[in-house]
Amino acid sequence: MGVAKYIKSEKDEVQDVILQSGIHIKPLYTPKDLEEVGFDPEKDLALPGEYPYTRGIHPLGYRSREWTTRQYTGFGTPKEANERFKLMISHGQTGLNVAFDLPTQMGLDSDDPLAEGEVGRVGMAVDSLRDFEVAFQGIPLDRIGVGLTINAVASIMLAMFQATAEKFGYSKDRISATPQNDILKEMIGRGAWIFPMKPAVRLIGDTIEYSMKELPRTNPVSVCGYHIRESGCSPAQEIAYAFQIANTYIEEVLRRGYQIDDFVRGFTFNLNVFGNLWEQVAKFRAARKLWAINLKEHYGAKDKRSLLLRGMFGGGGYGMTKAQPENNIIRGAYYALAAALGGAQTTALCSFDEAYTIPTPRAALLSLRTFQILMEEIGMRDTVDPLAGSYFIETLTKQMEQKIVEEMKRIDEMGGMIKAVETGYVQREVARQAYEFEKGVQKGELVKVGVNKYTEGEEMEVELHEYRWESAEEQIERLREVKRERDNRKVVQTLRDLEKAAREEKNVMPNLLECCKAYATVGEITKVFKEVYGEFKEPSIF
């Protein structure tokens, strides 16, 4: 559960602290520790905004600007989602991160038999451009960056987003979308895959290539260590696996003949924050340094922008508990602190009702207030990387660096991330660790307040977001309407052109744009891809 293991004497003296990443924490750190770990302030730290960026990617950090807050938001029909987007923005949220329902994530239309019971449940239902037009109505797309938490059909959603923005009169050069677009992490720990690995990675390459040329302010991928950590890996593994995944996507684009500096600055990362505070902070600092080194030394990047690890640090779902849910408000505050001390560009929190259902407005707004208090009252904007120079944090950062490099090497030795996932190695490792952690919690070796310690007290009634079956009905009715009103011959034509491009392994983005503009549905487009690419077969890990 992300917490360290505490070995205690009978008198409750803490004898040892073992972080999830395997590092033991000492009772005391002195300059000697920095010596022992080979700390070099010039090479290991430099200044914020200077290679290797350990202290931050910007010289002034939050002094120049606050982080962007973007709570994961969306449910029901696009109209309901639009209302919630506007509510959050009116309360001071500075970016959007759109949640899509499972049928949409899996490339199914709302009227697909397999979608039954899931339309609008965990996110907003999207079937066609019409839905995006409603979802983003009245949102200033030239000022608000929009995260799209979509992966297998990210290419479709990105094209749909561009089509929407252009319909509203925004220039494609001004809009900023960040489709999550990280299929490898789906195969490891989130499960919303459709196509086999090779074509799925190629689609990611297509979106990166297309963004590079057509959507200058768009970040085509948000590489996720987040979900792998949710699934059971350690913080060090979280970074190692994320970097190996990112490298896989880099290779896909380089293979097409581009230079690293043409595109990699559009990469972003999505990393987790739950668990031991020090471990997260050291993780983020080590990650920034290693990413910069990876790009400079391994890939020979010359443009400074290529070296910057831009991150959404947030979450962390797995840290939240079902028991005593109000505790999660407190946890959220500490997790947000970890993100701030870690220098996140963007952040989001799981709300206190995380273990129950998707957030009520009250829960979501509490998360926003958490950020605002941190930035406006507590002093997180005051200075950059405030923990720098701490004997403890600098030692721990170096040690995390070592752990991350070790884990990256393990993947290299296996032949890379695609191999590691195809064979099920990462999935097995993560599942095994998840089991060990759960055993640790059930035995009381890993403490979770309210769950296995301090469990007294009455159970709290949690207000639940209620699923509306009417949303599904409304959505299906709208879908039928769209299909009646659109030029169906055009749809057939655009789908046919798409299929041709897909079979010829051309970049499918321009065709996807045409399909979306013709109001082809997510299901219709995905069907074409399924016919061309087939479907992913999960490796058996038991």
Binding site: L102, Q105, G117, V122, G191, T321, A434, Q442, V451, L464
Partner: protein, 131 residues
Amino acid sequence: MGKIRVLVAKPGLDGHDRGVKVVAQALRDAGMEVIYTGLHQTIDQIINTAIQEDVDVVGLSIMSGAHLPICEKLMKRMKEKEIRDIPVVVGGVIPKRDISLLRGMGIEGIFPGGTPFDESIRWIREYVKPR
């Protein structure tokens, strides 16, 4: 008496499998034979696997909140196929108020997230007879 054979399944579109994989390992360590279906299973696929693998109990793991429609569908289909002797258990994100509704469908064991392994293992040992 042979080992208890458990099918642990992920029905529908939900891809969150940490819980089901953890439970699978726990049941295996408790001496049961565990077959895991993998993700994105249809009701028919689950039932067919249950029959083919000759399991003693079917466990569903549902994290998306869609447990009521999914379980209703499964129980209906099992009835149609006249499968009467395989108990069904459910785990995942299950609000308290839905537990009686699930029982009403004939789901006998309900183990929402956080249920200790001991509890589910004890229940299965008590209520499931290997065939």
